[in-house]
Amino acid sequence: MPSTCPCLNEGCNCCIQVFNACIEFENQLALDSVSFAVPPGVLTGVVGPNGAGKSILFNALVGLQPLAHGKILINGCPPKNSKTKISYIPQKERVNWRFPLSVRDVVSLGTAASTSLLANIRITSRDNDLIEESLRKVDMWHKKDHLVSTLSGGQRQRTFIARALTQNADILILDEAFSGVDISSQEGMLQILRGLRDEGKTILVATHDLNTLAAKFDYVLCINRHICAYGKPELVFTKDVLIELYGSHSEMFTTHQIGQHTHVD
């Protein structure tokens, strides 16, 4: 294992690694030759304007979106073989809030893929302990009987983080986790995410909110249909990068077309 992660060394099995990934979506080149690696136990912010390809990148990382070109390795394996180690927390619009589930119900779903079918009819005390421990870690135990659909944005996110903990996932991927969450709750969520990072979880959070949040991650990956910059926040946020990120990207990246990949094979 190389001593300095992040690396794009294929022998390294401790990272999220993305090699020259191109992703096409609805006949558009949504991401062009993206390469980066994330070491374990790091809290990374994925920053970019709406339409920059953050969600598509996340979908590719979790195996929901095929690549047009390139390769992704999660702990050294393709995403499809890494399921159960990853927990994906989608944008709130992707969840069917109509289901009247309590906080506890949602958190208990974390065991759905790993336990035997008979476990659906008898809840073991081990499961109960796991659910309680997860809920206490995100400070939601006192809300365990509330319906998730009635909670605030921040409380919903914390419930989903607890679900990832009962799933025993190593990697947490949160899409637009901070949208619709007020600033004081954002700080609380960051505390929780930092605590999990200190326990060794690898966490990626997409956000389009640059002002209040981006500087608070360990690493920041700036994308706008390609990688504009990647590194520690204080090194990344230069004037040029910001213009590239939030300038008029439709004009700037007219070269991002299918068949015009700039990758080097």
Partner: protein, 272 residues
């Protein structure tokens, strides 16, 4: 006196058979219905009911019970519609609408070409309890038990996929197969319900008791249990009404479940 009135209908064997089927669909429809209303699949349920018509007519022409023809047709149609809805570019409503009207029309054409006196359109559309055979009852008991077991054993998985499809896929659940399984179970439950309530009114049994329960019960699991109570009550009360007022069982049951829904709705208005 009252006891006599309660017992009297079921001294007739066909009423006894109808009662068994009624209780079973009273359990199964709201169990599936709880998922149907939260996934907004009511139209899919209606479409599945209509789409099995060719199977029922075909089975009757070949000399089988309509139930036996409808079961395989229902499963094949459910999986096909599910596949097309997942893959096609047109909206769900549109693809479901096109598929089910085509199949229903095909069934009606088969029916009119055959022109057999043995098949009555009203029986198929509205349900006909007097034609339920002992074999039909046994098939219904078997299918209800299998469906119930699967729904209980896969409860958590079904909820996860319906609530957060992408999260479920990433967590390692075979979400697409679970969706297809739900469709297959839905078509089985609809098909056995057709015997009592008929094609047109089956949705009343599928979604109305479940919807009434969702107005009262706070949690998903308690909504399922209460929906089952309402479903069985609708079935049994409707059957008595059918017997004493000499009306078809389907409309009697659908009106009973609507009355329960109305009471739940008024209760909700009162408490909020």
């Amino acid at each position: 006196m009252l006891i006599d009135a309660i017992i009297e209908p079921f001294q007739l064997t066909f009423m006894m058979r109808a009662l068994v089927v009624c209780v079973l669909i009273g359990v199964m429809c709201p169990f599936l219905g709880a998922h149907v209303i939260n996934r907004e699949m009511g139209f899919m349920g209606d479409a599945l009911a209509h789409s099995v018509l060719p199977g029922m007519v075909g089975a009757t022409i070949l000399g089988f019970s309509p139930l036996l023809g409808a079961i395989p047709t229902g499963i094949v149609v459910a999986l096909t519609i599910g596949y097309i809805v997942k893959k096609s570019n047109v909206s769900n409503d549109t693809s479901i609408g096109i598929m089910f009207t085509a199949l229903f029309a095909f069934g009606l054409v088969l029916l009119s070409l055959h022109g057999d006196e043995e098949i009555h359109v009203e029986d198929i559309l509205l349900g006909q309890i007097t034609t339920i055979s002992n074999t039909d009852v046994l098939v219904t008991v078997f299918l209800a038990l299998v469906t119930f077991a699967i729904m209980v054993l896969l409860h958590k998985q079904l909820v996860f996929v319906g609530f957060d499809y992408e999260g479920a896929v990433v967590a390692g659940l075979p979400a697409s197969r679970i969706d297809y399984l739900l469709l297959a179970l839905l078509s089985i439950v609809i098909v056995v319900s057709l015997q009592i309530v008929g094609i047109i009114l089956v949705v009343g049994m599928l979604i109305t008791p479940a919807a009434a329960a969702s107005l009262i019960a706070k949690r998903f699991s308690s909504a399922i249990v209460l929906g089952i109570v309402f479903g069985v009550a609708s079935g049994v009360v409707g059957l008595y009404m059918s017997y004493y007022f000499n009306v078809p069982s389907g409309p009697a049951i659908a009106l009973t479940s609507t009355a329960i829904f109305t009471l739940s709705f008024l209760n909700r208005l009162r408490t909020t």
